[in-house]
Protein backbone atom coordinates (compact mmCIF):
# COMPACT_ATOMS: atom_id res chain seq x y z
CA UNK A 1 0.00 0.00 0.00
CA UNK A 2 1.54 3.24 -1.05
CA UNK A 3 0.85 6.29 1.04
CA UNK A 4 0.75 9.55 -0.88
CA UNK A 5 3.16 12.31 0.04
CA UNK A 6 0.41 14.54 1.23
CA UNK A 7 -0.87 11.96 3.67
CA UNK A 8 2.63 11.36 4.92
CA UNK A 9 3.07 15.06 5.55
CA UNK A 10 -0.22 15.29 7.37
CA UNK A 11 0.58 12.30 9.52
CA UNK A 12 4.00 13.69 10.28
CA UNK A 13 2.65 16.98 11.40
CA UNK A 14 -0.01 15.42 13.54
CA UNK A 15 2.39 13.37 15.59
CA UNK A 16 3.28 16.11 18.01
CA UNK A 17 -0.28 17.29 18.63
CA UNK A 18 -1.42 13.72 19.00
CA UNK A 19 1.31 12.98 21.50
CA UNK A 20 0.44 16.15 23.35
CA UNK A 21 -3.20 15.13 23.56
CA UNK A 22 -2.26 11.74 24.93
CA UNK A 23 0.03 13.24 27.53
CA UNK A 24 -2.66 15.75 28.34
CA UNK A 25 -5.25 13.06 28.90
CA UNK A 26 -2.89 11.22 31.15
CA UNK A 27 -1.89 14.21 33.22
CA UNK A 28 -5.40 15.49 33.59
CA UNK A 29 -6.99 12.24 34.61
CA UNK A 30 -4.20 11.32 36.95
CA UNK A 31 -5.27 14.05 39.28
CA UNK A 32 -1.91 15.79 39.50
CA UNK A 33 -3.45 18.96 38.22
CA UNK A 34 -6.78 20.14 39.47
CA UNK A 35 -9.43 19.63 36.88
CA UNK A 36 -10.51 23.23 36.98
CA UNK A 37 -7.16 24.26 35.60
CA UNK A 38 -6.63 21.52 33.13
CA UNK A 39 -9.63 19.47 32.12
CA UNK A 40 -8.96 16.21 30.36
CA UNK A 41 -9.72 15.84 26.69
CA UNK A 42 -12.55 13.50 27.29
CA UNK A 43 -14.09 15.92 29.72
CA UNK A 44 -13.96 18.46 26.97
CA UNK A 45 -15.63 16.19 24.51
CA UNK A 46 -18.34 15.45 27.03
CA UNK A 47 -18.91 19.15 27.55
CA UNK A 48 -19.06 19.67 23.81
CA UNK A 49 -21.74 17.10 23.45
CA UNK A 50 -23.87 18.24 26.35
CA UNK A 51 -23.69 21.85 25.26
CA UNK A 52 -24.64 21.21 21.72
CA UNK A 53 -27.39 18.84 22.63
CA UNK A 54 -29.04 21.59 24.61
CA UNK A 55 -30.47 23.94 22.04
CA UNK A 56 -29.01 26.86 23.87
CA UNK A 57 -25.56 26.57 22.42
CA UNK A 58 -26.95 27.01 18.96
CA UNK A 59 -28.50 30.27 20.15
CA UNK A 60 -25.19 31.47 21.49
CA UNK A 61 -23.47 30.67 18.24
CA UNK A 62 -26.22 32.40 16.32
CA UNK A 63 -25.95 35.51 18.47
CA UNK A 64 -22.19 35.73 18.04
CA UNK A 65 -22.38 35.02 14.35
CA UNK A 66 -24.96 37.71 13.86
CA UNK A 67 -22.76 40.28 15.54
CA UNK A 68 -19.70 39.34 13.61
CA UNK A 69 -21.46 39.26 10.27
CA UNK A 70 -23.22 42.57 10.67
CA UNK A 71 -20.11 44.32 11.94
CA UNK A 72 -17.91 42.73 9.33
CA UNK A 73 -20.23 43.57 6.44
CA UNK A 74 -20.87 47.16 7.44
CA UNK A 75 -17.20 47.69 8.23
CA UNK A 76 -16.07 46.15 4.95
CA UNK A 77 -18.49 48.05 2.75
CA UNK A 78 -17.83 51.38 4.41
CA UNK A 79 -14.11 50.72 4.52
CA UNK A 80 -14.11 49.91 0.82
CA UNK A 81 -15.99 53.11 -0.01
CA UNK A 82 -13.77 55.27 2.12
CA UNK A 83 -10.60 53.64 0.83
CA UNK A 84 -11.89 54.09 -2.71
CA UNK A 85 -12.58 57.75 -2.09
CA UNK A 86 -9.17 58.42 -0.63
CA UNK A 87 -7.43 56.35 -3.24
CA UNK A 88 -9.04 58.06 -6.19
CA UNK A 89 -8.98 61.60 -4.94
CA UNK A 90 -5.74 63.15 -3.79
CA UNK A 91 -7.74 65.95 -2.25
CA UNK A 92 -9.79 63.55 -0.19
CA UNK A 93 -6.62 61.85 0.92
CA UNK A 94 -5.14 65.13 2.03
CA UNK A 95 -8.22 66.17 3.93
CA UNK A 96 -9.18 62.92 5.59
CA UNK A 97 -5.87 61.11 5.55
CA UNK A 98 -4.03 62.66 8.48
CA UNK A 99 -7.07 62.47 10.72
CA UNK A 100 -7.74 58.88 9.80
CA UNK A 101 -4.10 57.95 10.22
CA UNK A 102 -4.08 59.37 13.73
CA UNK A 103 -7.33 57.77 14.84
CA UNK A 104 -6.56 54.31 13.55
CA UNK A 105 -3.40 54.04 15.59
CA UNK A 106 -5.27 54.40 18.84
CA UNK A 107 -6.20 50.95 20.08
CA UNK A 108 -9.93 50.38 19.78
CA UNK A 109 -9.85 49.01 23.32
CA UNK A 110 -9.26 52.51 24.60
CA UNK A 111 -12.53 53.69 23.15
CA UNK A 112 -14.61 50.94 24.69
CA UNK A 113 -15.38 52.70 27.98
CA UNK A 114 -16.42 55.75 25.99
CA UNK A 115 -18.63 53.68 23.78
CA UNK A 116 -20.20 52.00 26.78
CA UNK A 117 -20.93 55.35 28.33
CA UNK A 118 -22.48 56.64 25.15
CA UNK A 119 -24.54 53.68 24.12
CA UNK A 120 -24.96 51.67 27.24
CA UNK A 121 -24.65 47.94 27.50
CA UNK A 122 -26.60 47.01 24.41
CA UNK A 123 -26.08 45.32 21.09
CA UNK A 124 -25.20 48.53 19.25
CA UNK A 125 -21.85 49.24 20.91
CA UNK A 126 -20.78 45.65 20.31
CA UNK A 127 -21.53 45.92 16.64
CA UNK A 128 -19.84 49.30 16.47
CA UNK A 129 -16.61 47.85 17.86
CA UNK A 130 -16.63 45.03 15.35
CA UNK A 131 -17.45 47.42 12.52
CA UNK A 132 -14.55 49.66 13.36
CA UNK A 133 -12.23 46.65 13.60
CA UNK A 134 -13.17 45.63 10.06
CA UNK A 135 -13.15 49.19 8.75
CA UNK A 136 -9.47 49.91 9.30
CA UNK A 137 -7.82 47.10 7.32
CA UNK A 138 -10.27 47.33 4.43
CA UNK A 139 -9.75 51.07 4.11
CA UNK A 140 -5.99 50.82 4.25
CA UNK A 141 -5.73 47.95 1.81
CA UNK A 142 -8.21 49.42 -0.66
CA UNK A 143 -6.32 52.69 -0.56
CA UNK A 144 -2.99 50.96 -1.04
CA UNK A 145 -4.36 48.80 -3.83
CA UNK A 146 -5.62 51.77 -5.76
CA UNK A 147 -2.44 53.76 -5.32
CA UNK A 148 -0.39 50.83 -6.47
CA UNK A 149 -2.17 50.43 -9.77
CA UNK A 150 0.72 50.52 -12.22
CA UNK A 151 0.91 53.73 -14.17
CA UNK A 152 1.20 51.60 -17.31
CA UNK A 153 -2.47 50.79 -16.96
CA UNK A 154 -3.31 54.46 -16.78
CA UNK A 155 -1.37 55.15 -19.94
CA UNK A 156 -3.15 52.32 -21.65
CA UNK A 157 -6.49 53.67 -20.60
CA UNK A 158 -5.76 57.17 -21.81
CA UNK A 159 -4.75 55.80 -25.20
CA UNK A 160 -8.05 53.97 -25.49
CA UNK A 161 -10.06 56.80 -24.06
CA UNK A 162 -11.12 55.22 -20.78
CA UNK A 163 -12.12 57.97 -18.42
CA UNK A 164 -13.96 58.57 -15.20
CA UNK A 165 -16.35 55.90 -14.01
CA UNK A 166 -15.38 53.55 -16.80
CA UNK A 167 -11.75 53.81 -15.82
CA UNK A 168 -12.52 53.15 -12.18
CA UNK A 169 -14.85 50.27 -12.78
CA UNK A 170 -12.97 48.48 -15.52
CA UNK A 171 -9.35 49.14 -14.66
CA UNK A 172 -8.65 50.61 -11.24
CA UNK A 173 -10.79 48.31 -9.15
CA UNK A 174 -9.80 45.04 -10.86
CA UNK A 175 -6.16 46.03 -10.61
CA UNK A 176 -6.56 46.80 -6.91
CA UNK A 177 -8.48 43.62 -6.23
CA UNK A 178 -5.62 41.53 -4.76
CA UNK A 179 -4.98 44.19 -2.16
CA UNK A 180 -8.64 44.58 -1.43
CA UNK A 181 -9.07 40.86 -0.84
CA UNK A 182 -6.14 40.86 1.54
CA UNK A 183 -7.81 43.68 3.41
CA UNK A 184 -11.07 41.78 3.63
CA UNK A 185 -9.37 38.67 4.96
CA UNK A 186 -7.57 40.73 7.57
CA UNK A 187 -10.82 42.43 8.47
CA UNK A 188 -12.44 39.07 9.05
CA UNK A 189 -9.73 38.10 11.51
CA UNK A 190 -9.97 41.40 13.31
CA UNK A 191 -13.74 41.13 13.48
CA UNK A 192 -13.57 37.81 15.26
CA UNK A 193 -10.94 39.06 17.67
CA UNK A 194 -13.01 42.12 18.49
CA UNK A 195 -16.13 40.03 18.86
CA UNK A 196 -14.54 38.39 21.85
CA UNK A 197 -13.51 41.77 23.21
CA UNK A 198 -16.99 43.14 22.68
CA UNK A 199 -18.64 40.23 24.45
CA UNK A 200 -16.08 40.49 27.22
CA UNK A 201 -16.40 44.17 27.95
CA UNK A 202 -20.01 44.68 27.07
CA UNK A 203 -21.78 41.96 28.89
CA UNK A 204 -24.60 40.13 27.27
CA UNK A 205 -26.50 36.95 27.76
CA UNK A 206 -26.19 35.30 24.40
CA UNK A 207 -22.82 34.79 22.85
CA UNK A 208 -19.96 32.36 22.70
CA UNK A 209 -17.80 34.83 24.60
CA UNK A 210 -20.37 34.83 27.34
CA UNK A 211 -20.22 31.06 27.58
CA UNK A 212 -16.49 31.29 27.93
CA UNK A 213 -16.81 33.77 30.75
CA UNK A 214 -19.46 31.62 32.35
CA UNK A 215 -17.09 28.72 32.27
CA UNK A 216 -14.43 30.86 33.87
CA UNK A 217 -16.76 32.05 36.62
CA UNK A 218 -17.90 28.56 37.40
CA UNK A 219 -14.41 27.17 37.19
CA UNK A 220 -15.58 24.99 34.35
CA UNK A 221 -12.47 25.07 32.17
CA UNK A 222 -13.95 22.54 29.84
CA UNK A 223 -16.64 25.02 28.95
CA UNK A 224 -14.02 27.65 28.34
CA UNK A 225 -12.07 25.44 26.02
CA UNK A 226 -15.20 24.38 24.19
CA UNK A 227 -15.95 28.04 23.59
CA UNK A 228 -12.45 28.79 22.35
CA UNK A 229 -12.53 25.88 19.98
CA UNK A 230 -15.94 26.91 18.66
CA UNK A 231 -14.77 30.42 17.95
CA UNK A 232 -11.64 29.15 16.28
CA UNK A 233 -13.56 26.72 14.12
CA UNK A 234 -16.14 29.27 13.05
CA UNK A 235 -13.47 31.82 12.26
CA UNK A 236 -11.60 29.24 10.27
CA UNK A 237 -14.69 28.29 8.27
CA UNK A 238 -15.53 31.86 7.48
CA UNK A 239 -12.00 32.62 6.39
CA UNK A 240 -11.98 29.54 4.19
CA UNK A 241 -15.27 30.58 2.61
CA UNK A 242 -13.93 34.05 1.86
CA UNK A 243 -10.74 32.65 0.42
CA UNK A 244 -12.57 30.13 -1.73
CA UNK A 245 -14.89 32.84 -2.92
CA UNK A 246 -11.94 35.00 -3.85
CA UNK A 247 -10.36 32.12 -5.71
CA UNK A 248 -13.55 31.34 -7.60
CA UNK A 249 -14.10 34.92 -8.67
CA UNK A 250 -10.46 35.33 -9.51
CA UNK A 251 -10.47 35.95 -13.21
CA UNK A 252 -7.14 35.51 -14.79
CA UNK A 253 -5.62 34.34 -11.56
CA UNK A 254 -4.49 37.75 -10.44
CA UNK A 255 -5.10 37.04 -6.79
CA UNK A 256 -3.58 33.62 -6.53
CA UNK A 257 -0.57 33.45 -8.75
CA UNK A 258 -0.84 29.82 -9.68
CA UNK A 259 -0.66 28.70 -13.25
Amino acid sequence: MTISNKTKAFLGSSIVPLLLVIVWQYVASSGYVASFILPSPNQIIKTFVTNFVEKEYALHIAASLKRVLIGFLIGTVSGFSFGLLMGLSRTAEKIFGPFFNVIRQVPIIGFIPLIIMWFGVTELPRIIIITVAAFYPVTLNTFAGIRNVPKEYFELSSVYGYKGLKLIRRIVIPAALPSITTGITLALGMSWAMLMAAELFIQTYFGIGTRIQLGRDKFNMALVIVGIITVGALGFFMTTIVEQLAKALDRGKIIRKET
Binding site: L156, S158, G161, P174, R251
Partner: protein, 259 residues
Protein backbone atom coordinates in the same frame (compact mmCIF):
# COMPACT_ATOMS: atom_id res chain seq x y z
CA UNK B 1 -3.45 71.28 -48.24
CA UNK B 2 -4.75 67.82 -47.76
CA UNK B 3 -2.46 65.00 -46.90
CA UNK B 4 -2.95 61.32 -47.43
CA UNK B 5 -4.59 59.54 -44.54
CA UNK B 6 -2.03 58.17 -42.20
CA UNK B 7 0.62 60.77 -42.70
CA UNK B 8 2.45 62.01 -39.68
CA UNK B 9 4.68 65.02 -39.75
CA UNK B 10 7.11 66.28 -37.16
CA UNK B 11 8.34 69.82 -37.67
CA UNK B 12 11.07 71.54 -35.68
CA UNK B 13 10.26 69.57 -32.60
CA UNK B 14 12.27 70.22 -29.50
CA UNK B 15 11.75 69.13 -25.94
CA UNK B 16 13.75 69.62 -22.81
CA UNK B 17 13.40 68.73 -19.17
CA UNK B 18 14.81 70.49 -16.19
CA UNK B 19 16.73 68.13 -13.96
CA UNK B 20 18.28 69.59 -10.81
CA UNK B 21 18.08 73.08 -12.24
CA UNK B 22 19.90 72.04 -15.39
CA UNK B 23 18.05 71.99 -18.64
CA UNK B 24 18.30 68.72 -20.44
CA UNK B 25 17.52 68.64 -24.09
CA UNK B 26 15.81 65.42 -24.98
CA UNK B 27 14.93 66.29 -28.53
CA UNK B 28 16.32 69.01 -30.73
CA UNK B 29 14.98 70.24 -34.04
CA UNK B 30 13.44 67.02 -35.17
CA UNK B 31 12.01 67.10 -38.67
CA UNK B 32 10.52 63.96 -40.10
CA UNK B 33 7.75 63.09 -42.47
CA UNK B 34 6.22 59.67 -42.08
CA UNK B 35 4.52 58.94 -45.38
CA UNK B 36 1.19 57.19 -45.35
CA UNK B 37 1.47 53.46 -45.52
CA UNK B 38 5.21 53.39 -44.95
CA UNK B 39 7.09 51.32 -42.41
CA UNK B 40 9.52 53.64 -40.68
CA UNK B 41 11.96 52.70 -37.94
CA UNK B 42 13.53 55.02 -35.45
CA UNK B 43 16.84 53.55 -34.52
CA UNK B 44 19.05 54.58 -31.66
CA UNK B 45 20.47 53.47 -28.35
CA UNK B 46 18.61 53.98 -25.10
CA UNK B 47 18.23 57.49 -23.88
CA UNK B 48 18.17 59.35 -27.15
CA UNK B 49 14.61 60.42 -26.76
CA UNK B 50 13.09 58.07 -29.28
CA UNK B 51 10.52 56.82 -26.84
CA UNK B 52 9.67 60.42 -25.95
CA UNK B 53 9.16 61.13 -29.63
CA UNK B 54 6.85 58.18 -29.89
CA UNK B 55 4.89 59.32 -26.87
CA UNK B 56 4.51 62.75 -28.44
CA UNK B 57 3.16 61.13 -31.57
CA UNK B 58 0.84 59.06 -29.46
CA UNK B 59 -0.39 62.15 -27.68
CA UNK B 60 0.78 61.25 -24.18
CA UNK B 61 3.23 64.12 -24.04
CA UNK B 62 1.90 67.52 -24.87
CA UNK B 63 4.53 69.98 -23.81
CA UNK B 64 7.07 70.54 -26.52
CA UNK B 65 8.12 73.13 -29.04
CA UNK B 66 7.36 72.67 -32.66
CA UNK B 67 4.60 70.74 -34.38
CA UNK B 68 3.42 67.22 -34.53
CA UNK B 69 0.73 66.76 -37.13
CA UNK B 70 -1.33 63.82 -38.14
CA UNK B 71 -3.15 64.11 -41.44
CA UNK B 72 -2.29 67.77 -41.35
CA UNK B 73 -3.88 68.39 -37.95
CA UNK B 74 -2.20 69.03 -34.67
CA UNK B 75 -2.00 66.11 -32.30
CA UNK B 76 -3.90 67.15 -29.19
CA UNK B 77 -3.93 63.91 -27.30
CA UNK B 78 -4.42 60.20 -27.78
CA UNK B 79 -6.91 59.24 -30.41
CA UNK B 80 -8.30 56.28 -32.23
CA UNK B 81 -6.35 57.07 -35.36
CA UNK B 82 -3.16 55.95 -33.66
CA UNK B 83 -2.59 52.60 -32.07
CA UNK B 84 0.32 51.52 -29.91
CA UNK B 85 2.13 48.34 -29.06
CA UNK B 86 4.30 48.69 -25.96
CA UNK B 87 7.40 46.69 -25.17
CA UNK B 88 5.61 45.03 -22.27
CA UNK B 89 2.44 43.69 -23.72
CA UNK B 90 0.25 45.50 -21.18
CA UNK B 91 -2.57 43.08 -21.44
CA UNK B 92 -4.93 43.34 -18.54
CA UNK B 93 -4.50 40.14 -16.57
CA UNK B 94 -8.10 39.90 -15.43
CA UNK B 95 -9.48 39.97 -18.96
CA UNK B 96 -9.43 37.12 -21.40
CA UNK B 97 -7.54 37.39 -24.63
CA UNK B 98 -10.78 38.13 -26.44
CA UNK B 99 -11.74 40.85 -23.98
CA UNK B 100 -8.29 42.37 -24.19
CA UNK B 101 -8.48 42.58 -27.96
CA UNK B 102 -11.90 44.16 -27.65
CA UNK B 103 -10.55 46.70 -25.20
CA UNK B 104 -11.02 49.71 -27.42
CA UNK B 105 -14.21 48.52 -29.05
CA UNK B 106 -16.72 49.52 -26.42
CA UNK B 107 -18.88 51.60 -28.67
CA UNK B 108 -19.73 48.73 -30.95
CA UNK B 109 -22.44 46.16 -30.52
CA UNK B 110 -21.64 42.65 -29.44
CA UNK B 111 -21.83 41.07 -32.85
CA UNK B 112 -19.52 43.53 -34.50
CA UNK B 113 -17.13 43.24 -31.58
CA UNK B 114 -16.98 39.48 -31.87
CA UNK B 115 -16.39 39.71 -35.58
CA UNK B 116 -13.53 42.11 -35.16
CA UNK B 117 -11.99 40.09 -32.35
CA UNK B 118 -12.19 36.86 -34.31
CA UNK B 119 -10.84 38.52 -37.41
CA UNK B 120 -7.85 40.01 -35.66
CA UNK B 121 -7.00 36.97 -33.62
CA UNK B 122 -6.98 35.03 -36.86
CA UNK B 123 -4.75 37.70 -38.33
CA UNK B 124 -2.12 37.23 -35.66
CA UNK B 125 -2.47 33.49 -35.74
CA UNK B 126 -4.19 33.03 -32.39
CA UNK B 127 -7.65 31.83 -33.35
CA UNK B 128 -9.20 29.81 -30.61
CA UNK B 129 -7.43 31.65 -27.82
CA UNK B 130 -10.25 34.05 -27.02
CA UNK B 131 -10.92 32.39 -23.70
CA UNK B 132 -7.36 32.17 -22.49
CA UNK B 133 -5.92 34.50 -19.89
CA UNK B 134 -2.71 36.48 -20.41
CA UNK B 135 -1.02 34.57 -17.61
CA UNK B 136 -1.31 31.44 -19.70
CA UNK B 137 0.41 32.88 -22.76
CA UNK B 138 4.05 33.00 -23.71
CA UNK B 139 5.75 36.33 -24.33
CA UNK B 140 5.43 36.10 -28.08
CA UNK B 141 1.79 35.14 -27.93
CA UNK B 142 0.98 37.95 -25.54
CA UNK B 143 2.68 40.45 -27.77
CA UNK B 144 0.64 39.19 -30.70
CA UNK B 145 -2.51 39.74 -28.72
CA UNK B 146 -1.29 43.27 -28.00
CA UNK B 147 -0.84 43.82 -31.72
CA UNK B 148 -4.30 42.43 -32.40
CA UNK B 149 -5.72 44.78 -29.80
CA UNK B 150 -4.06 47.76 -31.41
CA UNK B 151 -5.12 46.79 -34.92
CA UNK B 152 -8.69 45.98 -33.96
CA UNK B 153 -9.29 49.69 -33.57
CA UNK B 154 -8.41 50.17 -37.22
CA UNK B 155 -5.90 52.95 -36.62
CA UNK B 156 -4.32 54.88 -39.43
CA UNK B 157 -0.94 54.66 -37.82
CA UNK B 158 0.48 51.94 -35.62
CA UNK B 159 3.20 52.98 -33.22
CA UNK B 160 5.46 50.30 -31.86
CA UNK B 161 7.81 50.94 -28.95
CA UNK B 162 10.52 48.26 -29.09
CA UNK B 163 7.76 45.72 -29.49
CA UNK B 164 10.00 42.71 -29.72
CA UNK B 165 12.54 43.73 -27.12
CA UNK B 166 11.20 41.44 -24.44
CA UNK B 167 11.24 38.33 -26.58
CA UNK B 168 13.97 35.80 -27.07
CA UNK B 169 16.06 36.03 -30.21
CA UNK B 170 14.35 33.23 -32.11
CA UNK B 171 10.85 34.39 -31.32
CA UNK B 172 11.93 37.85 -32.29
CA UNK B 173 12.93 36.81 -35.77
CA UNK B 174 9.68 34.95 -36.21
CA UNK B 175 7.73 37.96 -35.02
CA UNK B 176 9.57 40.24 -37.42
CA UNK B 177 8.24 38.14 -40.25
CA UNK B 178 4.79 38.33 -38.71
CA UNK B 179 5.01 42.10 -38.41
CA UNK B 180 5.89 42.39 -42.04
CA UNK B 181 3.01 40.17 -43.04
CA UNK B 182 0.62 42.25 -40.95
CA UNK B 183 1.92 45.46 -42.37
CA UNK B 184 1.47 44.29 -45.90
CA UNK B 185 -2.03 43.05 -45.09
CA UNK B 186 -3.27 46.13 -43.21
CA UNK B 187 -1.51 48.64 -45.42
CA UNK B 188 -1.27 51.22 -42.64
CA UNK B 189 1.61 53.38 -41.56
CA UNK B 190 3.83 51.73 -38.99
CA UNK B 191 6.36 53.61 -36.93
CA UNK B 192 8.65 51.44 -34.88
CA UNK B 193 11.20 52.40 -32.28
CA UNK B 194 13.98 49.89 -31.97
CA UNK B 195 17.61 49.43 -31.11
CA UNK B 196 18.02 46.34 -33.25
CA UNK B 197 19.74 47.22 -36.50
CA UNK B 198 18.82 44.01 -38.30
CA UNK B 199 15.23 44.41 -37.35
CA UNK B 200 15.14 47.94 -38.67
CA UNK B 201 16.67 47.02 -41.99
CA UNK B 202 14.49 43.95 -42.39
CA UNK B 203 11.25 45.78 -41.90
CA UNK B 204 11.58 49.41 -42.89
CA UNK B 205 11.18 51.58 -45.90
CA UNK B 206 13.01 54.31 -44.06
CA UNK B 207 15.29 54.30 -41.05
CA UNK B 208 15.79 57.36 -38.93
CA UNK B 209 18.97 57.17 -36.98
CA UNK B 210 18.99 59.20 -33.81
CA UNK B 211 21.77 59.98 -31.42
CA UNK B 212 21.40 61.03 -27.86
CA UNK B 213 22.03 64.01 -25.65
CA UNK B 214 20.64 65.96 -27.25
CA UNK B 215 18.37 63.77 -29.31
CA UNK B 216 18.91 64.72 -32.89
CA UNK B 217 18.55 63.01 -36.19
CA UNK B 218 21.86 61.76 -37.39
CA UNK B 219 20.86 60.31 -40.68
CA UNK B 220 17.90 59.12 -42.62
CA UNK B 221 18.35 56.02 -44.71
CA UNK B 222 15.88 55.02 -47.34
CA UNK B 223 15.62 51.40 -48.22
CA UNK B 224 14.01 50.84 -51.56
CA UNK B 225 14.68 47.11 -51.59
CA UNK B 226 11.88 44.72 -52.35
CA UNK B 227 10.43 42.44 -49.75
CA UNK B 228 10.86 40.01 -48.20
CA UNK B 229 14.43 40.96 -47.56
CA UNK B 230 17.29 38.57 -47.43
CA UNK B 231 19.32 39.10 -44.28
CA UNK B 232 22.36 37.63 -45.91
CA UNK B 233 22.27 39.65 -49.08
CA UNK B 234 25.09 42.05 -49.86
CA UNK B 235 22.64 44.90 -50.03
CA UNK B 236 21.49 44.15 -46.51
CA UNK B 237 25.08 43.94 -45.29
CA UNK B 238 25.98 47.20 -46.95
CA UNK B 239 23.18 49.09 -45.31
CA UNK B 240 24.03 47.46 -42.01
CA UNK B 241 27.66 48.52 -42.32
CA UNK B 242 26.56 52.03 -43.11
CA UNK B 243 24.36 52.17 -40.05
CA UNK B 244 26.91 50.63 -37.75
CA UNK B 245 29.39 53.20 -38.90
CA UNK B 246 27.04 55.90 -37.71
CA UNK B 247 27.31 54.39 -34.29
CA UNK B 248 31.04 54.02 -34.62
CA UNK B 249 30.63 50.31 -34.51
CA UNK B 250 31.82 49.69 -38.01
CA UNK B 251 33.94 46.71 -38.78
CA UNK B 252 37.66 47.20 -39.22
CA UNK B 253 37.52 44.72 -42.00
CA UNK B 254 34.82 45.98 -44.26
CA UNK B 255 32.83 43.50 -46.23
CA UNK B 256 34.76 42.32 -49.23
CA UNK B 257 33.11 41.21 -52.39
CA UNK B 258 33.90 37.72 -53.45
CA UNK B 259 34.56 37.53 -57.06
Amino acid sequence: MSVAKGTLEIRNLSKSYVVDNNPLQILKNINITFPAGAFVSILGSSGCGKTTLLRIMLGLETSYEGDALIDGEKIEGPGSNRGIVFQDHRLLPWLTVGENVAFGLDKLNRKTKKLLVDEHLKLVGLSGFEGAYPAQLSGGMAQRVAIARALANKPEILLLDEPLGALDALTRMYMQKELERLWEFEKITMIMVTHDVDEAIYLSDKIIIMSSRPGIINKIINIPSSRPRDRASSEFMQIKAEILNEFHLGSEYPFAYAI
